[in-house]
Symmetry: none
Subunit: 243 residues, 2 copies
DNA sequence: AACAAATGTCTAGTTATCTAGACAGACCGG
DNA sequence: CCGGTCTGTCTAGATAACTAGACATTTGTT
C-alpha cells in the first residue's frame, strides 16, 4: 500500500498529507466521500492520531477536505469549472471532466412558446415548439435544471429521438444538423423560481447560475433555445475564446 | 536563487541536501569542483553551519561529494562508464558522455615495432610502423595514456594527418579506411610502468586498466594496434554486445 | 435515554531538528 | 613558522515533531 518513511527529513504529517491530497486530486477519493476516521488512518500509517490530525488540518486549509465534528471528514466538493465556448456540448464536457453525468427527462410537450422564445428562434407567434425539461445529476449531485425549446415544424417527433439518444448533439445530428454553434450565451445570477428550487433541492434564497443560450446551424438558423440553471455553489462557468 | 522553506514539514538539512545533490547531478557543479565552505553555505541558506554539515553528510553517504579536512568539500569524481563495443570510437564516446576530451600528442615516431606488435598487425619483422603516444585529458583529469601503432607502408605520412585531425577515425578515413571494427580487445589490470605512472600523475602502486586492442578494416586487414592505459580509479569499462 | 463513533482539546513526555559557541586538527600561502 | 581558512567534534539549549492518554463535544442509532 502507501508507505511512510521516518527520519529522512520529511515529517510524517507532511507525508500523510501528501498521500491523502493525492488520493483526492487523483480521484481515488470522490467528492463528498468520507475519509477513514483519524484513528483508522493512524493505525494504517502506524502513527499517532494527533499526527494524522495535523495532516488533515493542512488538507482542510487547502480546502481539499471538510471535517464535521462527530461525523467525520469528507472530501470537499470542489467548484466545477464548466468551460463554455461556441462549441460547448454538455455530454462532452462532462466526459472531459471525468464525471458520470446522467440526464433525467422530466417532461416533454408540444406547445406555443412564450413570445421571447419564439422571437429568439425566429418563429411566428403561432408556431409550435417542443419544450423539454431535464435534470442532470453528476456524482450524486444535482447539476442543473434545463429547459430547451426546438422548433416543432423543423424537428417533427424530436422528443422520441431525444429520449433515445439522451443528447442534444446526437438528436440534432439525426435530423441532419451535424454541426451547430452557440449563437449567444447570456449568464446571470438570480434566485431560482420555486419549481426549480424544489427540483434542485436547494433553498429558494440561494442563487443559481442562469444561462440562456441559442444554438444555430452553420447557416445561422436557430435550432435550439435553452435555459440552464446551474447550482451556483459548485459550478463555475469558464468563458472561453471562440474556437 | 535557491529558496528554502521553514516549517512545512521538510527539514532544512534535507532541503539543502536536495538542492546540492541537484547541482551535482545536473552538472552545475563539476567533477572535482570545490563546494562553497560550510560557513558560506550556511550564510547563503540563512541557517546554522551544523545544519549544512548534516546536509553534506548525506551527500557524502550518497558518494556525491567528498570532504577533506582543512581543504574543503569537493564533487566526487564518479566512475565513468566507458562503453566498449566493436565500433567504439574514443572521440565519439567522450562526446556521448558529454565530456570535453582533449588529446595531447606526446610523441610520434617511425620505427621497427616489437615482434608482438608486428605479428598482431600482420607485418614482417623488418617492416616499419608509426608509433604515436597520446595523453587524454577530460574535465581537467588525466584520462588515459595511449600508444598506437599503424603500418607505415600503408599509411605514409600518417602522423601529420593525425596531428591535424586529432582523431583516429578521421585519420583512417582520409586514407580511405572509412570503416573499421575492433578485431579484439584484451583488458587487464596491472601496475603502470614508471613512465606511464609519471605521465598520469598517479602512484606507481595504484593499478591501471590496461586495454590492448586491434582494429581491422572491413576485409579483416589490421590497421591499428593500440594499448590504452586508463586510470583505474574512475574509469569503468563496460563491455557491450557487438552491434 | 443510552450508547457508539466520530472529532476537538487538553497535558505531559520523548525524540528529532536547529541554533550557538568553543575549540581541535589539517591545509596552504606568504 | 605563522595566521587564515577550512573541516571535525563537543556541549548546551531552543524549537518542532511525534507519542500517549484522558476527557469533552457532537452526531446518529437503538
Amino acid at each position: 500500500m502507501n508507505e511512510i518513511v521516518r527520519g529522512r527529513g520529511v515529517s510524517l504529517w507532511s507525508q500523510i498529507s501528501n498521500i491523502l491530497a493525492d488520493d483526492v486530486l487523483k480521484g481515488r477519493l470522490r467528492q463528498g466521500e468520507q475519509l477513514p476516521s483519524a484513528q483508522e488512518l493512524a493505525t494504517r500509517f502506524d502513527v499517532n492520531r494527533h499526527t494524522v490530525r495535523r495532516a488533515i488540518a493542512t488538507l482542510e486549509q487547502r480546502n481539499l477536505v471538510r471535517t464535521e465534528q462527530g461525523r467525520g471528514t469528507f472530501v470537499q466538493e470542489q467548484i466545477l469549472d464548466y468551460p463554455i465556448s461556441r462549441r460547448t456540448r454538455f455530454t462532452q464536457n462532462m466526459r472531459n471532466l471525468n464525471i458520470e453525468a446522467d440526464t433525467e427527462i422530466l417532461e416533454d410537450v408540444r406547445e406555443i412558446p412564450p413570445v421571447a422564445v419564439a422571437e429568439a428562434l425566429g418563429l411566428g407567434c403561432k408556431e409550435y415548439v417542443y419544450r423539454i425539461e431535464t435534470l442532470s445529476h453528476a456524482d450524486g449531485h444535482i447539476l442543473d435544471h434545463s429547459t430547451v425549446y426546438f422548433p416543432a415544424a423543423r424537428f417533427v417527433g424530436l422528443p422520441a429521438v431525444y429520449r433515445r439518444t439522451q443528447s442534444v448533439t446526437r438528436t440534432l445530428s439525426e435530423f441532419g444538423v451535424s454541426d451547430y454553434v452557440r449563437k449567444h450565451t447570456r449568464v446571470s445570477a438570480r434566485l431560482p423560481e420555486a419549481a426549480t428550487a424544489r427540483l434542485m433541492k436547494q433553498p429558494a434564497n440561494r442563487p443559481i447560475l442562469h444561462v440562456q443560450s441559442i444554438n444555430a446551424d452553420p447557416r445561422g438558423m436557430p435550432v435550439q433555445y435553452g435555459v440552464t440553471r446551474f447550482s451556483g455553489d459548485w459550478i463555475q462557468l469558464v468563458l472561453m475564446a471562440d474556437d
